[in-house]
Symmetry: C2
Subunit: 125 residues, 2 copies
DNA sequence: TTACTTTTGCAACTAAGTTGCAGTAAGAAA
DNA sequence: TTTCTTACTGCAACTTAGTTGCAAAAGTAA
């Protein structure tokens, strides 16, 4: 890990994440890039980008995997844990920069969290 | 909705939820009951129980659907929204009775939330 | 260029959850 | 109790997200 080669696929995906402030689902990427690269490649590149700390992943409300760029993470640690928002109507997801206090729970060690707020986005309400 | 018949399948599932304080995944139920009822039935009964306010569902960290009994909900409204905890090692999930403040986000209407805290449970740490 | 290693494409697979339809059983009405 | 209606169930086939194994291609360092 950490030795990512700068291949065409990697550059293509990174470019998409740079342009895109919102999160992008794996499914969207597979569809978007279906003429340019194989879906297996997409899933594997995303895996590599994540383990390298360039993007982070989380689950959307329907059990699909979403990805977005990281800020201040590395392969050693994903510190950029923040809530996400998903619109019930259009399905769009984005990262929120608010920070929510994680309570401590007796007898359990909490390592990270996935907070998804669900509702209506600006264009849908 | 609201007109649930008390069939054998419904009673079987409700009995499991009564015995079980932890949440149960659909997959676990399908496996547990594979000799007693069809998986289609399980998914459909769960759907009915949820829309009737008897159980609530949410996504686990691996994108599987989990269910747990509701307290104080009805078909009209699922008020029993609380965080869940999932153990990274054994995969077990349970409902937490802490309550977390949901921030309000400009330009977005938040209807509900899915908060999953991930870490190590008592028996795994 | 050579040699080595990572990355890619392909095809086949896995697993969760869904759908359509015909048959069965709850339970209200007679 | 029997009848009738409608909800419910089982089956088989399907859909879809994501994974795996392997051979071929492309990075990279020397």
């Amino acid at each position: 890990m950490g030795v990512i080669r700068k291949t065409k696929s990697v550059e293509t995906l990174l470019a998409i994440f740079e342009q895109n402030k919102d999160a992008v689902s794996a499914v969207q990427l597979v569809d978007l890039l279906k003429d340019q690269m194989n879906k297996t490649t997409i899933y594997r590149v995303l895996e590599r980008l994540e383990s390298d700390g360039l993007v982070h992943s989380f689950m959307g409300k329907d059990g699909l995997k979403w990805y977005a760029t990281c800020h201040g993470c590395s392969s050693a640690q994903h510190i950029d844990i923040h809530p996400h928002f998903q619109c019930q109507h259009c399905g769009k997801v984005d990262c929120l920069s608010v920070d929510m206090k994680i309570p401590s729970i007796p007898n359990r060690k909490i390592n990270f969290s996935q907070i998804l707020l669900i509702g209506e986005c600006e264009s849908c309400s």
